[in-house]
């Protein structure tokens, strides 16, 4: 039997030009008075996809989710689900269910009654309801808590009840609003994997809203990064991290160093960036950028090497500076190096490597090195 992971790896309907999106968000705008929460936003989400809407608070991600659920009507544009236009369909007639950030468990009902609530609305026969509730309780491992009231449960258990309740009706799409937001760090990490496993097992489409990039990276097949009601980039977690489309995305996801300058080609045909202090940074190829354009070279701290010894010639990019600050994180150490130009660059070193290196300390002279194609050239 194939593991869930290998199914995941081969799942990429967005790369298939013939694949039909399951959810089509077409030019959605939502205004609250003068405030534009979502601005002419379009998205395609595929069946069985685990899709994350990532952004800071106020970026419009929750508004978009609420429009999918039917709690808000778009000011303009439309949403298609499996070919059906959802405009004007009230939340209680939409084939989607939502897991609320606050869980919104009914406090006057038992766990069992909470899970059965949606099924009763559908007038499902009683024995079938009982069977489905039992199945859901088993799925979230809460069988022995069926008769408890929500206030008698821990935060993690409540989260599971909310999940079971929103899954009970077997919705075409499950919307999750900050599903792990109220859990502590350890529980959150466990639950991330449980959620992805569950989504694979049930073969459902999940749309999750989160402000936590780590959460989005771990769980989602694709991530849409939102800012001020607009989509900045839609891509897989690896693409978002390795090939951000803009400085905003690069800085939002993870930690990054930026070198600004104008693009040039040297005599040998190599692409480089001329910086205002006269230094050059060699980059990988950037064919779509014209020479002379103002660009940013973005490089992750873990792709920068750091050493107390001056590197030999032949290394494309080597910049000197002083160790300005050291953050020891256990698994790795982040060195903040103040370059001679005055810019502070972060370089990460795994502590397994650090043991063999000469230990750098505060105010030491240090050199940072990186390969031209370790970073990306950004034009916006």
């Amino acid at each position: 039997m194939k593991s869930l992971g290998s199914i995941r790896r081969s799942f990429a309907p967005w790369a298939d030009p013939d694949a039909v999106p399951y959810i089509r968000v077409e030019n959605i705008t939502k205004k609250f008075g003068d405030f534009v929460a979502v601005n002419d936003l379009s998205l395609d989400i595929y069946e069985r996809e685990f899709f994350a809407l990532l952004g800071a608070s106020g970026c419009g991600k929750t508004t978009l989710l609420r429009m999918l659920a039917g709690f808000e009507e778009p000011t303009s544009g439309r949403i298609l689900l499996d070919g059906q236009d959802l405009s004007g369909i009230p939340p209680y007639r939409r084939p989607v269910n939502m897991m609320f950030q606050s869980y919104a468990l009914f406090p006057h009902m038992t766990v069992e009654a909470n899970i059965a609530f949606g099924l009763k609305q559908d007038r499902m026969p009683r024995d079938q309801i009982a069977a489905r509730v039992g199945e859901m309780l088993k799925l979230v491992k809460l069988e022995q808590f069926a008769q408890r009231k929500p206030h008698q449960l821990s935060g993690g258990q409540r989260q599971r009840v909310a999940l079971a309740r929103s899954l009970a009706k077997r919705p075409k799409v499950l919307l999750l609003d900050e599903p792990l937001g109220a859990l502590d760090k350890k529980l959150r990490e466990e639950t991330q994997f449980e959620l992805t496993d569950l989504q694979q097992q049930l073969g459902l489409t999940f749309v999750v809203v989160t402000h936590d990039q780590e959460e989005a990276m771990t769980m989602a097949d694709r991530i849409a990064i939102l800012d001020k009601g607009e989509v900045m980039q839609v891509a897989t977690p690896a693409e978002v991290y390795e090939a951000p489309a803009s400085r905003f995305v690069a800085e939002f996801v993870g930690s990054i160093n930026m070198f600004e300058g104008s693009l040039q080609k040297d005599k040998a045909g190599n692409t480089r960036i001329a910086r205002s202090d006269g230094s050059m940074i060699y980059t990988g190829s950037a064919d779509d950028v014209r020479a002379g354009d103002n660009v940013w070279y973005a490089i992750r701290p873990e792709k920068i090497g750091i050493s107390s010894r001056q590197p030999e010639n032949g290394i494309a990019n080597a910049l000197a500076g002083e160790v300005y600050d050291i953050a020891y994180l256990g698994d790795m150490t982040i060195y903040h190096v103040k370059l001679d130009s005055g810019q502070v660059v972060k370089a990460a070193m795994l502590n397994s490597a650090r043991l063999f290196e000469d230990p750098l300390t505060w105010d030491d002279r240090a050199w940072i090195t990186f390969a031209p194609d370790a970073g990306v050239v950004l034009t916006r």
Partner: protein, 320 residues
């Protein structure tokens, strides 16, 4: 030292209201109870002293007269039609040919009950509307609910006479609209009493309802709708059950004072509106039968202790 002072201070803070209750509630109650055990007399005050001081207490223990309570009991037995034996002798049967105190009690409970339901029906939508109003409006709406308290209760009830009487504002208005040809007779009927009670006690219903509805998490309604529940059904399945503590509190806050209400039935009700508050008044001031009136008051209190205890329990449960 300062800890001792604060301990004493905190005791004092508790003692003050208790002393207040002792002097202005328990002592008057005991005086009323004492009067209820004495006999009617043509004197000032109009009752024989049942006991004066502790010395008297044991001497007169045997002379305590439960005649008034017996009369009340016989009145009730007569009302349910099982009077006999005990009640044949005694002045109850001679003096009052038919039971009337029980009729007044029952009628009071009935009027208070119906009025409470009506107040709930009027108050719930108001409280709901307030709780769902934009945050900026809520304080003002709350003020509007409390505003009538700034005018004398008596004056407000009097104002209703001007509205409800045959040539009053309401009839003039309806006549002007051409809806009626003859004036509606509302004044001096039970309808007028219901209107008076609903109007006067509405804030007592609205405020606790508002308090429970306002703190309710609206995402619960959204969750219900999300799970396929249309809005009206979501109201009955989620909002209403969760507002029950407010419903119970509001109903008891209206029902308890409404049972003993005197001003409203006296001013708006007719001669046929029988409420125990009015009976109490006429026993005290028209018949000058203070002992019987006191007994009526004591029994009223006992009747109301039941819903009051129910209220207390509901409150305690809501807090738990």
């Amino acid at each position: 030292m300062s800890r001792l002072v604060s301990a004493v201070a905190s005791r004092l803070v508790i003692i003050v209201p208790y002393v207040w209750l002792l002097f202005f509630f328990l002592v008057p109650f005991l005086i009323v109870f004492k009067i209820s055990l004495s006999d009617l007399a043509i004197s000032m005050p109009p009752y024989t002293p049942a006991l004066d001081g502790l010395r008297d207490f044991f001497a007169r223990l045997g002379e305590f007269d439960f005649e008034n309570f017996k009369l009340l009991m016989c009145d009730l037995l007569g009302y349910i039609g099982v009077g006999g034996g005990l009640c044949d002798s005694g002045f109850a049967a001679d003096f009052y040919k038919r039971p009337y105190l029980s009729v007044a009690y029952i009628s009071s409970l009935k009027i208070a009950f119906v009025a409470t339901i009506l107040t709930l029906l009027v108050g719930y939508p108001i409280a709901y509307g307030m709780a769902r109003a934009p945050q900026s409006l809520r304080t003002m709406l709350l003020m509007l609910v409390i505003l009538p308290f700034w005018t004398s209760f008596l004056i407000r009830v009097y104002a209703w006479i001007g509205i409800l009487k045959p040539e009053g504002l309401l009839n003039q208005f309806l006549f002007m609209l051409g809806l009626i040809d003859d004036p509606l007779i509302i004044m001096n009927t039970n309808t007028a009493v219901y209107i008076g009670i609903v109007y006067s006690y509405l804030p007592f219903m609205v405020l606790p309802l508002y308090a429970t509805l306002e703190k309710m998490d609206y995402s619960l309604i959204e969750a219900a709708q999300d799970l396929g529940c249309p809005p009206l059904s979501a109201f009955w399945k989620i909002t209403f059950p969760l507002s029950l503590p407010g419903v119970v509190a509001g109903c008891l806050l209206v029902f308890i004072p409404a049972v003993g209400e005197f001003v409203i039935p006296d001013l708006l009700g007719g001669s046929r509106t029988l409420m125990i508050g009015k009976t109490l008044w006429s026993e005290f001031f028209n018949n000058r039968d203070w002992p019987l009136a006191s007994a009526v008051a004591i029994i009223l209190l006992l009747i109301l202790v039941v819903p009051i205890m129910f209220f207390q329990r509901a409150q305690a449960r809501a807090q738990a």
